[in-house]
């Protein structure tokens, strides 16, 4: 087993004329919580979509547990235990809670040799999942469109943790949420960490990352500005890195 769960090396990605990522490198130890911060359009979501297999990078490679990951498809990432909670939750509104949780990984049973959806088992598992996470939805057979924003997020969290994830990526999980829901997200991340699951969280709320994170990586305009251990930095330094796009320690290090 490698020391690091994830190593992303020299990842680059352009959308037409827009360079979303250039030469980005990221290292994530097993079971650690990394905060990914930066201005809008810094490339945070794109980097995480690359890691989740939803975007194919132009260049670069990804090592999972030291072994090269095959990254043509979200299924490949999910099979490797990498789950992502998308900023818009990526739920299908007209499907039920249980259908969304198991979408693409349905539990089947066989009737006279014909594989059919095992809806009972999937509903039961979904209920167990919510109970285990301490999250609540009115019913797992309700369409997701009938749920509130916080409840939809609970569904996305349940889906991301349903299949023995080793890494859960959360893209702005606390945006547009009230204080109680934000507290729930923090609790969930803490619980994942206790279970040895690594978490990458994209957030504008630095206080959340200082409270629950191990490290922070700052990005600007598709590049990495710098990385810090949470107990080796403070709010002002991170804000400076976000705004200027420079690492103050490198700048002072060079002339000396």
């Amino acid at each position: 087993m490698s020391a690091n769960l994830i190593e992303m090396r020299n990842i680059s990605k352009s959308f037409g004329a827009v360079t979303a990522l250039s030469d980005v490198t990221l290292t994530l130890p097993h079971g650690s919580v990394l905060g990914l911060v930066g201005d809008n359009a810094a490339g945070k979501s794109t980097l995480m979509k690359v890691l989740a297999g939803a975007i194919t990078p132009d260049r670069g490679k990804i090592l999972i547990d030291g072994a090269p990951g095959r990254y043509s498809h979200p299924i490949g990432a999910r099979d490797a235990g990498i789950e992502m909670i998308y900023q818009d939750f990526a739920l299908v509104p007209d499907l039920t809670v249980a259908q969304n949780i198991f979408l693409g990984r349905e539990i089947m049973r066989s009737v006279a040799g014909v594989p059919i959806l095992d809806r009972k088992t999937m509903s039961a598992r979904a209920r167990e999942l919510f109970a285990g996470l301490g999250l609540r939805v009115p019913s797992v057979t309700l369409p997701v469109v009938a749920l509130s924003g916080g409840q939809q997020q609970a569904v996305a969290i349940a889906r991301a943790t349903a299949f023995n994830a080793r890494l859960v990526i959360m893209d702005e999980p606390t945006a547009n949420l009230g204080a109680p829901a934000i507290e729930k997200v923090r609790e969930t991340i803490t619980r994942l960490k206790e279970n040895g699951v690594a978490v990458i969280i994209i957030s504008h709320r630095l206080e959340d990352i200082f409270a629950i994170g191990d490290a922070m990586m700052v990005m600007k305009q598709g590049r990495v500005v710098g990385t810090r251990a949470v107990d080796d930095t403070e709010n002002a330094e991170i804000v400076e890195m976000i705004v200027t796009g420079r690492d103050p320690r490198e700048r002072t290090a060079v002339p000396a």
Partner: protein
């Protein structure tokens, strides 16, 4: 949700609320039932077994293709080429039977032609051309093929298998309707109980979510069009068998009737919501209305006007009203709990 609906909700009891939601959701089923009752009072011929079985036979091609169209619409697509596929299959079936090929060779062959046409539609759609454009091109060019192949002439069909498909019966039910019910039952199973149906609904419900969950979106799209093409071919066989000839003019405007029946039944044009039972009821409603108005001696042109009006009202009920009522009922339910 507007204020007026949520303040009004306090008065409605849960049972009353369920009743209202049900009335809107199953509006078409209720409309069909009411129409059947009203017509049976107005005309004593209407409710006779002969008439009912006759209407069901007329509706069979629309039900058969409608099952495929329901899947296509589930993926947020549309297929305008099905009427022309009926014509192509009609002339090919008659032509190949006239060459002396046996029915057990010709029928699988024309079904394969329909599936191939649909697969081609689906493939081009996955390249990024809008389904409307691809299948509109199909609508003109496939019928063009039918005219080229037949030189514009109809060819009589005398094959006994075809005669049975068109005029025979199974357990007292005419063969076309029996075939359409078998197709509908299989379609219901596929849509509601299998991974394929679920993935079709997910693709149309929110394609980006389906994509990041790793669903094989292109394969699903190609399959729903291939299936609809094959069902259009099956309908083409039934239509030709019924008329005992293969004509390049068969199935004209059939695509519009199929789309109308599917939408009438409650399937969303925008994808993600689909119902096979609704499509069957939608098709029956169109044909029972037409039959009833004919029996009353109403000018056939009015029948077309009425069909159009029913379509608009049904879509209003299925989209705007249905959503309003459902969110109203949910809000009211939350107030109480």
């Amino acid at each position: 949700m507007s204020d007026t609906t949520s303040t009004g909700s306090g008065a409605a009891t849960p049972t009353r609320r369920q009743l209202i939601v049900g009335l809107v959701r199953y509006g078409m089923f209720i409309a069909l039932a009411l129409w059947l009752v009203a017509m049976s009072l107005a005309s004593e011929y209407f409710l006779t077994p002969t008439n009912i079985l006759n209407v069901m036979r007329q509706a069979a091609p629309v039900i058969i293709i409608g099952v495929g169209m329901t899947f296509v619409m589930a993926t947020a697509g549309i297929d305008l080429s099905v009427g022309s596929t009926v014509a192509l299959v009609s002339v090919l079936t008659a032509g190949w039977l006239a060459l002396g090929l046996p029915a057990w060779v010709v029928l699988p062959l024309v079904l394969a032609v329909g599936a191939a046409v649909g697969m081609a539609n689906g493939f081009i759609i996955t390249l990024g051309v809008p389904a409307f454009v691809v299948t509109l091109a199909g609508l003109t060019s496939i019928r063009g093929f039918a005219f080229v192949y037949s030189d514009g002439y109809a060819t009589p069909i005398t094959d006994p298998v075809m005669i049975w498909i068109g005029r025979g019966d199974i357990l007292g039910v005419n063969t076309p309707f029996a075939i359409s019910i078998a197709v509908a039952v299989l379609g219901w199973f596929l849509l509601n109980r299998t991974r394929f149906g679920l993935h079709a609904l997910a693709t149309g419900g929110r394609e980006e979510a389906a994509r990041v969950m790793g669903l094989a979106i292109n394969r699903i799209k190609i399959l729903v069009y291939a299936m609809t093409g094959a069902l259009a071919a099956l309908a083409g066989i039934v239509v030709s068998a019924r008329l005992s000839n293969g004509s390049p003019n068969s199935g004209v405007m059939l695509e519009l009737e199929v789309i109308a029946a599917t939408v009438l039944g409650g399937t969303s044009l925008f994808g993600g919501r689909a119902t096979i039972a609704g499509t069957v009821v939608g098709a029956l409603l169109i044909y029972f209305v037409r039959n009833g108005l004919n029996l009353l001696g109403v000018n056939p042109y009015w029948v077309q006007v009425v069909t159009g009006i029913i379509l608009v009202v049904a879509v209003l009920m299925n989209t705007v009203l249905n959503q309003k009522v459902e969110s109203w009922a949910r809000a009211a339910g939350e107030d109480e709990s």
